[in-house]
């Protein structure tokens, strides 16, 4: 298994590219071959991901399975990759969700078809997403981060709903706007760094060890601001969220699923991997601001959900709220908070991914997503309605299902934030978050009442809909199982993330003179 240790994560990232190359050799009329190739490529990547899980040492802390190759020597950028407890869950989640999307694609592809291009773009997206989670070099991180933009732009712009062009370009420009400032932050970090014997570096681990030595507080805050802007747009944090509802509403089902399940996590992951550990002092300075924005996002997202009539748009706004919980947990700068954040990311990926699948399948049958127009689905499509109820309840945070733990620990961590942060502010935010959970329960239950319960309206009375198709079920089963398993055995995740989270808190705590001693 040595080769898995050496090359496993690299292979998992680039196997989809090999799939794309294979697909390019097949004419586009052979649609079933393309579906098979895409499934095989993402399946192989997932298989490689599982092998990586096999060699990953769960007890050990720190970065594992590292690989560092020369890439752009003239500026010292390297192909440096590796995994730790924070990256691993997200890495596996990306591989799993893409694979499930490929299964779902067997059943349904949106207009105007063309599976060759659609699936190739999904595979390219997979490479970008998984690459972001393993990159340990700022330039490499940036390339993977940007690589995600292009395929998602096409997925929304070509296969999207009626306002797809507007949504696609809004998504693209918004994210690019953030990422150029993120890049400027990276470059500024590069020129501030000074590793003995190497000089300037883009290496994330080296920069983390270096800390803010030799940098003025003002500059550090400026750089943090640039990085935070890029990450915050991706998360998206209030008030940078306005691209999200449009992108989600217009995107095809698979695009929405990938967007919700993985893409949003790239932003929060950026905070955990880069912004906070490299600039801990600025992170502490900005923590209350991030916390307040997060709490606003929770309340604002929930209130918006109450006002939505489009099922998909409602789920999109619920993402704003859920990512608010994740950001609130991060803002506490404690190990409890970081654990909760990673947990919340994975849970949101699993549950909201599932919800978007369901919204897509409901739309496929009713040809509408207007909540008031649906109704009585429990009578018409009992299994689908049951799954919707299950996922919604998981999403609102019922104990025993995955959504619960991320939120409850986020609130818990806000009760006692890192020493030095203003406890009053964070406890107020905790209360606001608590109100948010009530509102969340409110809009989900209200939605269920209107969609699942009640009588079947005259409009649908005489129509017959096929209930859940076996392929749909195959694509969804892993998510449903994970929702339950993660809910019942939270330690499965916390055991993975805890060491890294504790490390991260230690990095944030260490300041000034301590940092010198640590070197």
């Amino acid at each position: 298994m040595d080769w898995v240790r050496e090359w496993g994560i690299t292979l998992a990232v680039f196997l989809p590219v090999i799939g794309i190359v294979a697909m390019m050799l097949v004419p586009k009329e052979k649609e079933s071959i393309h579906k098979f190739l895409a499934l095989a490529a993402s399946g192989a990547a997932l298989g490689m991901g599982l092998l990586v899980l096999g060699v990953y040492q769960f007890g050990a802390s720190g970065m594992q399975l590292q690989k560092s190759l020369s890439w752009i020597p003239s500026i010292g950028a390297r192909y440096h990759v590796g995994l730790d407890g924070i990256a691993l869950p997200l890495f596996v989640l990306s591989l799993l969700v893409t694979f499930l999307c490929m299964i779902y694609a067997l059943w349904h592809l949106p207009e105007p078809g063309n599976p060759k291009l659609f699936l190739a773009l999904c595979l390219l997206l997979e490479t970008g997403m998984t690459g972001t989670f393993i990159a340990l070099d700022l330039i490499l991180f940036f390339v993977f981060w940007e690589l995600v933009l292009v395929p998602m732009y096409f997925l929304i712009g070509i296969w999207g709903g009626p306002r797809r062009e507007y949504a696609a370009i809004k998504f693209f420009l918004y994210t690019l706007f953030g990422s150029v400032f993120m890049l400027l932050g990276f470059l500024a970090l590069y020129f501030q760094s000074d590793v003995p014997g190497v000089g300037h570096t883009f290496d994330i681990l080296a920069l983390q060890q270096q800390g803010v030595l030799g940098m003025s507080i003002g500059l550090a805050n400026l750089i943090f601001g640039g990085l935070a802007l890029g990450f915050a747009i991706k998360v998206p944090m209030w008030p940078f969220h306005t691209w999200l509802p449009d992108a989600h509403t217009e995107a095809p089902t698979i695009g929405s699923v990938l967007l919700a399940a993985v893409l949003l996590k790239m932003g929060t992951y950026g905070f955990l991997r880069i912004a906070i550990p490299i600039l801990p002092e600025s992170a502490r300075t900005f923590a209350p601001v991030i916390g307040i924005l997060a709490a606003i996002a929770i309340i604002y997202g929930a209130l918006n959900c109450l006002a939505q009539t489009d099922l998909k748009r409602m789920i999109a706004f619920s993402s704003v709220g859920h990512m608010g919980f994740v950001m609130l947990a991060i803002a506490t700068m404690t190990d409890v908070g970081f654990n909760a954040a990673v947990y919340g990311m994975v849970a949101h990926g699993v549950i909201t991914g599932m919800l978007f699948f369901l919204a897509g399948s409901i739309h496929e049958r009713y040809h509408t997503r207007e909540i008031p127009e649906l109704g009585g689905m429990a009578l018409k499509l009992p299994i689908l309605a049951g799954l919707l109820a299950f996922s919604s309840i998981a999403s609102l945070g019922l104990p025993g299902l995955a959504g619960f733990w991320g939120e409850v620990f986020a609130l818990l961590s806000a009760y006692s934030p890192l020493e030095g942060l203003n406890t009053d502010i964070f406890r107020t935010l905790m209360v606001a978050g608590g109100v948010g959970t009530v509102l969340t329960a409110g809009y989900f239950l209200w939605m269920l009442q209107r969609v699942n319960l009640g009588k079947v309206s005259d409009r649908w009375k005489d129509k017959t809909f096929a209930d859940v198709h076996p392929i749909e079920l195959a694509a969804w089963a892993p998510l449903l199982v994970l929702t339950l398993v993660l809910g019942l055995f939270p330690s499965l995740m916390f055991d993975v993330t805890n060491d890294s989270s504790v490390n991260l808190q230690r990095q944030v705590e260490v300041t000034g003179s301590d940092a010198v001693a640590n070197r």
């Binding site: 500026i75 732009y153 690019l176 150029v180 400032f181 020129f191």
Partner: protein
């Protein structure tokens, strides 16, 4: 005076083939004029071989006016490759448009000869002569579609602006000669360093020289001729002007600024910084409105000139390390720009042949009609926009790096905002090609030569995008410091 024939070999070979092309054209019957192209092609190939033979050499001849070093060799090679690509995209276009092929290739080769010599010039006089040798054939090339009024307009505008700018530049050069008593770039620098009294008079000369080069590289506010000239000229000529001729202008400008006027960097740095920012902003904002792909590429090439110029905005009178970095950032951008811009023009020609003409709206649904071409065009456009993993991102990265190394965060922010604006119009075309329903139009196959030129440029753009060091390494060892 002794001649170093090895150092001059590329220019000599090229001159021989230039004459040969003219003679061959005389003896060919009208319907077989296309055979001039292989002559020119082989000539440039041999020239390229002679250039590559000089890699690693350091030679000087003609009393130090003609220098062969890494910088010269690099750009000679780039100009030859660019010329080969332009030949490949010209061949079928000329045949179909009924353009005089013998003259066309002879003029192109003459212009190329000027480019080769400007890369080796370290003295104001050869720089000026080379620039003239580049420009004068280009005036004629722009007007080669004689029966088309627009082509005439293109040539006339180009000519008037070009002559005016040359006159201003020459005036600047004569001023600096009067002040320092020399035309050698190193000597000018030495005099300006030794006698600070002369600096105030030199400022005027610097200003005139920048204005003159501003026309060549199409920097704001000297870019007005560009869109009309590109649109009216035969499209391969537009490609040639936007790539080779602009690069030659930069080669001259970079040398004069970084060598001769380096002691006065504090004076011209802010000026060029402002020009660079205005150039990219103007190019990008106007490009947003364009409906003709050639005009769009023209404005985008103006914006690109702004990016290439930006590192000059952080040049320093004292910090050689920073100058080196800025210099190589500009060079790297030029290298990558050569491939992505010629590629984009080549793809535009291929689309134009498919009966679509040059309107952007005709790109609708291009992917359904010509998937390979649409993908290649996407590669070029995204590269121009700076989206990884296409080469343009590395070009922008190095410019960003040099600007931030010069502690000019404001310039970096301006460039960042421009990158976002630019993406909008590039992405809009891509979106059109992939997303929209195709319009009815006759399918025309892409000629092999044109197709292979596109494939070559696209391959370079992708490979360099993944492994930027292939070019970055070359750029960093080819500085003049």
């Amino acid at each position: 005076m002794s001649f170093d024939f090895v150092a001059l070999a590329p220019e000599i070979i090229l001159t021989v083939f230039l004459c040969a092309a003219l003679v061959v054209d005389l003896f060919l019957p009208k319907e077989r004029k296309g055979l001039v192209m292989p002559v020119a092609f082989i000539g440039v190939l041999l020239t390229l071989a002679a250039v590559l033979n000089l890699v690693g050499d350091n030679r000087e001849t003609l009393a130090g006016m003609f220098v062969v070093d890494q910088f010269a060799v690099l750009f000679k090679a780039v100009f030859c490759v660019a010329a080969l690509i332009v030949f490949a995209i010209s061949h079928d276009y000329l045949k179909e448009d009924n353009i005089h092929q013998g003259e066309y290739y002879t003029l192109l080769l003459s212009s190329l000869l000027g480019m080769l010599t400007i890369a080796s010039s370290r003295d104001l006089i050869p720089i000026f002569v080379s620039l003239e040798l580049i420009s004068v054939p280009a005036f004629v090339l722009a007007g080669l579609r004689k029966s088309d009024l627009r082509s005439n307009e293109a040539a006339l505008k180009f000519f008037l602006f070009g002559v005016l700018s040359t006159a201003i530049m020459l005036y600047g050069m004569s001023l600096i000669y009067g002040v320092t008593g020399t035309t050698n770039l190193q000597a000018i620098s030495a005099v300006l360093t030794a006698e600070p009294v002369l600096r105030s008079i030199s400022v005027l000369s610097i200003f005139f020289i920048i204005v003159g080069f501003g026309f060549k590289i199409s920097a704001f506010p000297f870019q007005w001729w560009v869109p009309d000239t590109y649109e009216g000229s035969p499209v391969p000529v537009a490609a040639f002007l936007s790539v080779a001729s602009k690069t030659a202008g930069f080669v001259g400008l970079l040398q004069i600024m970084f060598i001769a006027f380096q002691p006065l960097a504090d004076v011209w740095r802010p000026f060029l910084a402002i020009v660079a920012v205005l150039t990219m902003t103007f190019g990008n904002l106007v490009a947003l409105q364009q409906r003709n792909i050639i005009r769009l590429l023209a404005y985008s090439s103006i914006a690109q000139a702004g990016y290439i110029l930006l590192p000059l905005g952080v040049a320093s009178a004292t910090d050689v390390g920073l100058n080196k970095q800025a210099f190589s950032a500009s060079i790297l951008y030029l290298l990558i720009y050569t491939f992505m811009e010629t590629g984009a023009f080549a793809a535009a020609i291929a689309f134009g042949r498919r009966g679509g003409g040059y309107l952007v709206e005709n790109y609708s649904g291009a992917f359904a009609k010509a998937p390979g071409l649409a993908i290649a065009m996407t590669v070029f456009l995204f590269s121009l926009a700076g989206v990884p993993p296409f080469a343009g991102w590395a070009a922008k990265l190095f410019v960003f790096l040099s600007v931030i190394a010069g502690k000019s965060l404001v310039l970096a922010v301006f460039m960042a905002l421009n990158a976002v604006i630019a993406l909008y119009y590039y992405a809009a075309i891509v979106k059109r090609m992939f997303g929209d329903a195709p319009k009815e139009s006759a399918r025309m196959p892409v000629p092999a030569l044109l197709g292979s030129a596109i494939a070559f440029a696209a391959t370079v753009v992708v490979v360099v995008g993944v492994m930027p060091d292939l070019f970055a390494h070359v750029a960093s060892i080819s500085t003049l410091f």
